[in-house]
Symmetry: C2
């Protein structure tokens, strides 16, 4: 091939700013990303891009910033249909008087289908391209995600007790592994173990999860240390702190994501560090339910990987990862009594590369680097609310809300353009959300 003739690629995206997350703390100006077969093959100054590449699709965003697609590392996606149904209640009241009864009454395949689609649209429209889910009917979640061309870690739940989706540990595990088999060739969906929490799964079942996860090289996603009460109750009933018990049962490890992780002492942190487990921090949910504080800066100082999740919309009440990043950065400072704790750069990294590491996907996702999958979002930074623009990363973390996201790509394919989802029918999903509200509200009054 003649050296002068441009190389053919699928897509070229040019933008005023690009924050690639790696190299660290760098903002590129007037650069272009070249994408071929879903993969980033080059990032170069825009004035060189037109000589080097010819593209089937081109998009010029002269007032936008591009970042890696955000990774929402914990949620109960379908619970978006319960958004705002019960607020300002203590955790146990909220669970026992509102959420569990509502789940018992309403959660079925249709609920999970409609609720997951509702959540996916909200996530796409606020910059999330990959999410981690833990909910009933993971078979439906996996299918809905796959159909929409979105990316997800779908954890199947394991409980000691029966629910709408299973009878007990063995039943949940058997059904979950079937879903895993159905999606084992999926590029987008990764089905993993989701033992609900230390206090809802017995030793034998946790041990079985640990063994199977190791054998199948599969992730484990588990709530742990959500409240001081959980820790106190665990000590009273098992004689061990939850993390200590999880460690003894083989649950901790490089493939394990520990969600919430408040009320940690130095021994807990040491166990997490030695095991290589990942932390998923859900600041808004922890605040709203008065659960407790996750010591983010202390964990980072120990080189423990921290990801960020919104938790379900029933306890947040939005799935906007920009609000979550900001809250994470603000909460870390007041908790650590140090305004330099958990900087804007660190918050963005947790919401991108930190999430990718937690999900075991950092070879493919989490940064904008040559060789990685093209999961990219664009935010409109022309608005007056983002002026003056001294530091785009500061605007991203401290002033943006998800509404600024205009475009996103997953595996190089457009999934959001001018805020319109490309792969899910927004009008249909919105109509269904309204029907669910009428049905559920009708029952409650």
């Amino acid at each position: 091939m003649d050296q002068q003739s441009p190389q053919l690629v699928d897509t070229l995206i040019s933008a005023r700013w690009i924050i690639p997350v790696r190299p660290e703390n760098i903002t590129l100006e007037n650069h272009t990303i070249a994408i071929k077969d879903g993969v980033i093959i080059d990032i170069l100054p825009s004035d060189e891009a037109s000589d080097r590449y010819e593209a089937t699709h081109g998009l010029d965003l002269p007032q936008h910033v591009l970042t890696p697609g955000l990774i929402n590392a914990h949620g109960h996606t379908a619970m978006t249909l319960f958004r705002g149904m019960a607020d300002d209640k203590p955790l146990q009241t909220w669970l026992e008087q509102y959420i569990w009864p509502a789940e018992a009454e309403w959660v079925d395949e249709t609920f999970v289908h409609d609720g997951t689609q509702l959540a996916m649209i909200e996530m796409l429209r606020s910059g999330t391209t990959t999410f981690s889910d833990m909910y009933f009917f993971p078979n439906i979640v996996a299918k809905v995600v796959s159909d929409a061309g979105m990316r997800a870690q779908v954890s199947f739940p394991v409980f000691d007790f029966p629910t709408a989706w299973g009878q007990g540990p063995d039943d949940y595990i058997r059904k979950g592994l079937n879903v895993r088999d159905d999606f084992k060739h999926s590029e987008l969906v990764n089905v993993v173990f989701g033992p609900h929490a230390p206090y809802t799964v017995n030793d034998d079942a946790l041990n079985k999860v640990a063994m199977l996860a190791a054998e199948l090289d599969t992730n484990i996603h588990i709530h742990a240390h959500e409240t001081q009460q959980e820790v106190d109750d665990a000590i009273a009933s098992t004689g061990k702190r939850p993390v200590e018990r999880l460690n003894e049962l083989g649950i901790l490890g490089l493939r394990t994501q520990l969600v919430h992780m408040t009320a940690l002492n130095d021994d807990d942190i040491q166990l997490v560090k030695e095991s290589g487990s990942h932390i998923v921090h859900c600041p808004q949910s922890n605040m709203k339910l008065a659960s407790g504080l996750c010591p983010v800066q202390k964990l980072l100082d120990q080189d423990i990987n921290v990801a960020i999740g919104t938790d379900g919309a029933a306890s947040n009440n939005s799935l906007d990862m920009f609000a979550e990043m900001r809250t994470a950065a603000l909460l870390a400072k007041i908790s650590a009594n140090d305004a330099a704790a958990f900087s804007d750069w660190q918050a963005l990294e947790a919401a991108t590369l930190g999430g990718a590491k937690a999900l075991g996907l950092d070879d493919q996702l989490g940064t904008l680097e040559i060789g990685k999958q093209a999961d990219i979002i664009a935010l409109d930074f022309s608005r007056i609310e983002q002026q003056p623009m001294y530091q785009p990363v500061s605007q991203l973390v401290y002033t943006a809300c998800g509404h600024l996201v205009t475009h996103s790509w997953i595996n190089g394919k457009p999934v959001l353009a001018d805020r319109e989802p490309a792969t899910i029918d927004i009008a249909e999903v919105q109509a269904k959300a309204r029907q669910w509200k009428e049905k559920i509200n009708g029952e409650r009054r």
Copy 2:
């Protein structure tokens, strides 16, 4: 007049939902607000409104919610031009190495003019109709506010030391009272005393402020108890806690707004309660600078009035009162270790009626009631991010960002329509913000 013939009014606004704040905890559905001469003269079911009233202007908002215009009870408006200039720095470093040098170099009448306009557009576009400002060149602030038809309490600063706007206490007070005279007939601008903080104003000057404020029936707006360090330093240098000293100097009282108020003990709270002083809570600034926690629920339990402020954009970094309300509600719960603390209704009340009480304007503002000034905002609640709509107030506090605000009125006059400011030239202000960025950045590098 024939009983059948409709009454002529200036404006009728009909909306799907109206949250009037008073009566408490009520959401009206399909109601209409009638406005005449800038005042709310009726709120009635929309299907009765067309028979009863004929309007010069009418607006039908079938998917919107109306609330009182928000009151941002503390800020340094012009500092919006320093937004994102210095993040993630401890308070003293931030002040001494970044903010004070930048102020010394850049703050003049033009800076204050341009920065205040920039902030006002952001505030209008995120639902604030009234704000409280404390900054240099209050003469400029007052004029810019008045020209834009916005509403503000403009406090003139008082310091022991010279700044760009004054030489010392007597000079600040003299200049400030001149500004007060210039605007004493303004319907929109209220010029008040703004002694900066207990540690920057001496006893004699504070005493003089207290006496003059009482004599002139004028408000006092002052930072106090921003950090534990401030309290410790005060005890070391004066032998008294800041609130104790302010009380002895006559500063506390029904006309006084105490901003920040972290590190409070029971005696402090008792002094605030007995004096009838108001608290202005700035949660995002307190978190970002790791200043401390204001015990909001404890103050409300003592019947102390609490308002909410964003503080300046240099330490927040946005002026979005919806983000501030949500953070206030979330932070109060984790601080009080009680998920029922500071509910969505309480957060909305603090951002409306609480602000009006603090500013001494609750006879005119803070609720949508007959006889009050028509300061009203409308938010588009048709979006998928607000579905399902079980409780509009929950969506307002826990899911909204300022971007949902589409319209606002001050004294019944439209100041924002379809997100476009009606009284300030947004393109011109944006261009100036970019010029300031080039100038300030040029100097810094």
